[in-house]
């Protein structure tokens, strides 16, 4: 017997948590002397009322879908991958190498190649922490954080010393050749008469992210591997009993997680900047944690949560454009969302559970 209906668990509770987060965010906005209503209107106008706004919202959402899925897959194996940031950074390198050194005839082939490069490099960067966790019991939370720092240093080295064209100021690689340029939403959806998504960075990778959601759903709930990952995540002792090797699952789950996190580099590096830059990840790896949490580690939930966070990002940019609200406000809002949807989940859940049980008693 469940304590409450499923819809309450996956819709009602997150919505209430979000409202709480919004309420406290409003207090913060009030405290710094701005109007929450105005701010909210600006965000909605800028992020959702124009096609270009959507173009940005979905661009960010693409990143968050990948990192959110990455965190979710690891979570199913009860592994806390805080290293999405570093994995995506290194994956960018994979994308850059593929794009720079292989002459691609057409973007459709290039995106496949770049995806392989991104996934491979991302997975590789997750491999060592995974192995250390599985074999030596080194806490994966700490090692993945350390690997974020190490990734930044490595990427910096590669960009400053190896990939930077001579004379360029930017610690960035050369522009990728034209054969690798991905069609943006503007290219895809604009007509002669009306330009849609003008200048927005959203591109075909978005559909790749949607595909990744489907892939993860199949993987987790329809394959043997997914069955084993979830089983291991629920009970390590039971997994051992069933002949599921903890080492193998830990490593595989982290490889998949790293590969997914890495895939976001296709969006940022190939789709947006079209060259490898230092700071392409911009914290998306961490946002993935919030996204996975809000999405209850389910691909559909991750997809919706990613769009919500994409909206927050784009809305935040609009705020920064037209008001004096510092950009850190968005960080605070993120924190509140994580706090209320994740850590303080029971604060909302328990009263609601009680409510449902009481209601059921009365009906019975």
């Amino acid at each position: 017997m469940d304590k409450m209906p499923k819809w309450a668990d996956i819709v009602l509770i997150p919505v209430i948590s979000l409202l709480l987060a919004a309420f406290f965010s409003s207090l913060v906005i009030l405290a710094i002397g701005e109007s929450p209503v105005e701010a909210f209107k600006l965000m909605v106008d800028g992020a959702l009322m124009r096609s270009a706004g959507w173009g940005y919202t979905l661009y960010y959402a693409t990143n968050f879908m990948f990192t959110g899925l990455a965190v979710a897959v690891a979570f199913h194996a009860r592994l806390f991958n805080i290293g999405g940031e570093g994995q995506a950074m290194i994956a960018g390198l994979g994308v850059a190498l593929v794009c720079l050194y292989i002459p691609w005839p057409h973007w459709s082939l290039a995106i496949l190649g770049a995806s392989v490069g991104a996934a491979l490099f991302g997975a590789l960067w997750a491999l060592i922490p995974a192995y250390l966790q599985a074999r030596r019991g080194s806490h994966i939370v700490i090692t993945t954080i350390m690997f974020n720092f190490i990734a930044a240093a490595l990427l910096n080295y590669v960009l400053v010393e190896l990939l930077r064209p001579v004379g360029a100021m930017d610690p960035a690689s050369a522009k990728f050749p034209a054969g690798t340029h991905l069609p943006t939403f503007q290219d895809m959806f604009s007509t002669e008469s009306s330009k849609m998504f003008r200048g927005a960075p959203a591109n075909v990778t978005f559909f790749l992210a949607l595909a990744a959601c489907v892939f993860v759903w199949l993987l987790i709930w329809r394959t043997r591997l997914g069955y084993e990952i979830r089983a291991f995540g629920q009970s390590e002792t039971a997994a051992k009993y069933a002949g599921i090797s903890p080492v193998r699952i830990t490593v595989i789950a982290m490889l998949i997680s790293g590969a997914l996190a890495g895939m976001m580099a296709v969006n940022t590096t190939m789709g947006e900047s079209e060259r490898l830059i230092l700071n392409a990840t911009e914290g998306a790896g961490f946002i993935g944690i919030a996204v996975a949490l809000m999405g209850r580690n389910h691909p559909l939930g991750v997809c919706v949560a990613a769009i919500l966070f994409g909206f927050l990002y784009q809305g935040g940019a609009e705020l920064a454009l037209w008001t004096n609200i510092p950009r850190e406000l968005i960080v605070v809002i993120q924190a509140l969302v994580i706090l209320f949807t994740g850590a303080l989940d029971n604060m909302v859940r328990e009263p609601i559970e009680k409510l449902f049980i009481a209601m059921r008693r009365r009906n019975a």
């Binding site: 710094i32 250390l132 190490i150 910096n156 510092p326 850190e328 605070v332």
Partner: protein, 336 residues
């Protein structure tokens, strides 16, 4: 490499190790009680800001310290609510707290000082000065002699160098850090509170059925953690530095956690572990010495990544299996 080089390197290690030490002891109290805290970083950061802000307004570093501790404790209470009262996921609560601190400090700093998320520089009593121990060569002696301090120390004998450079001349908070180690050890292993604290991190049900409140114990531990993080942050902003800049803790809270694992959750080991990690960071400031020892130039990027690489190596290789308190990260749930 000369003797003085080593002394100086160790001197830097102590300075850089002290914030790690406070944070590490903070984590120790929290984890010994069964509450994992990856929000040390955030608590340090918010303490750094509020201590600097208060010290700026009052011109008194001690008042700054109090404000920093208070701010850190507010976040500690939030973590307590999430992980003790509402039995939520402690890692996630920690992540949220880190974000919250990163955002709030800059937001508030901007709203108060309009200097882009930093406080104005602290001067005079707004900072903790350095304590000169008796018989040590310090700035006073240098001024009297009218010569640079570094020269005078350079000419002194090795014992005097050790004493003046390494032992003397630190902020009072550094000495407080050493004291905190002793106090932690004593509280943990010699008092009733310590016994209960250790027990609640191993088996909260045992404590509960022995008639002691698990919730109160854990809150106490989390609050102590807040106080110590407050010290760590205040030390950084009002002693190591003269003011707050955004993100100034720069991952030290995480290094402290690694040190805690390395120290196997023991106070005295924690001190050595933090000194070691402080030493790694100190090495980074002396590429010349590394070059002299290994005989070749080290890439700056490698140098920068060194503390993190060494942390991983140590976690992976040198400690064997570190067994955390059994109930850590587990909320105490009686009724499912």
């Amino acid at each position: 490499m000369e003797f003085l080089d080593i002394v100086q390197l160790l001197d830097t290690s102590i300075r850089l190790g002290t914030p790690l030490l406070f944070a590490c002891l903070a984590g120790l109290f929290s984890e010994r009680s069964g509450v994992v805290d990856i929000g040390l970083e955030g608590k340090m950061l918010i303490a750094a800001f509020f201590s600097a802000a208060a010290a700026f307004y009052t011109g008194n570093a001690w008042l700054g310290l109090l404000a920093g501790i208070a701010a850190s404790m507010v976040l500690a209470v939030i973590h307590g609510l999430a992980s003790i009262t509402f039995r939520g996921n402690q890692l996630i609560s920690g992540v949220a707290i880190n974000f919250l601190a990163a955002g709030m400090t800059v937001l508030v700093a901007q709203s108060w000082f309009k200097q882009g998320g930093r406080t104005p520089p602290l001067t005079g009593n707004g900072r903790f000065g350095n304590v000169e121990l008796p018989f040590a060569i310090g700035p006073t002696e240098a001024e009297a002699a009218g010569r640079p301090l570094s020269q005078m120390i350079g000419e002194a004998g090795p014992i005097q160098q050790l004493y003046s450079e390494l032992i003397s001349g630190h902020s009072i908070l550094v000495y407080l850090g050493v004291l905190a180690v002793v106090a932690t050890w004593w509280i943990l292993f010699r008092t009733r509170f310590g016994l209960r604290l250790r027990a609640v991190g191993e088996n909260p049900a045992a404590v509960d059925t022995a008639g002691v409140s698990v919730i109160q114990l854990r809150y106490a531990a989390v609050l102590i953690c807040g106080v110590l993080c407050g010290l760590a942050g205040a030390y950084m902003a009002t002693s190591l530095q003269a003011g707050f800049v955004k993100d100034m803790t720069a991952g030290r809270g995480f290094i402290a956690l690694a040190a805690l694992i390395f120290a196997k959750w023991r106070p005295v080991y924690a001190m050595w572990a933090c000194l070691l990690f402080g030493f790694f960071q100190a090495l980074e400031t002396r590429p010349d010495l590394i070059e002299a020892v290994i005989g070749m130039k080290v890439q700056i990027q490698l140098l920068g990544a060194l503390p993190y690489i060494l942390t991983v190596v140590i976690l992976a290789g040198f400690i064997g299996k570190a067994i955390p308190p059994k109930a850590s990260a587990e909320p105490y749930i009686k009724e499912r």
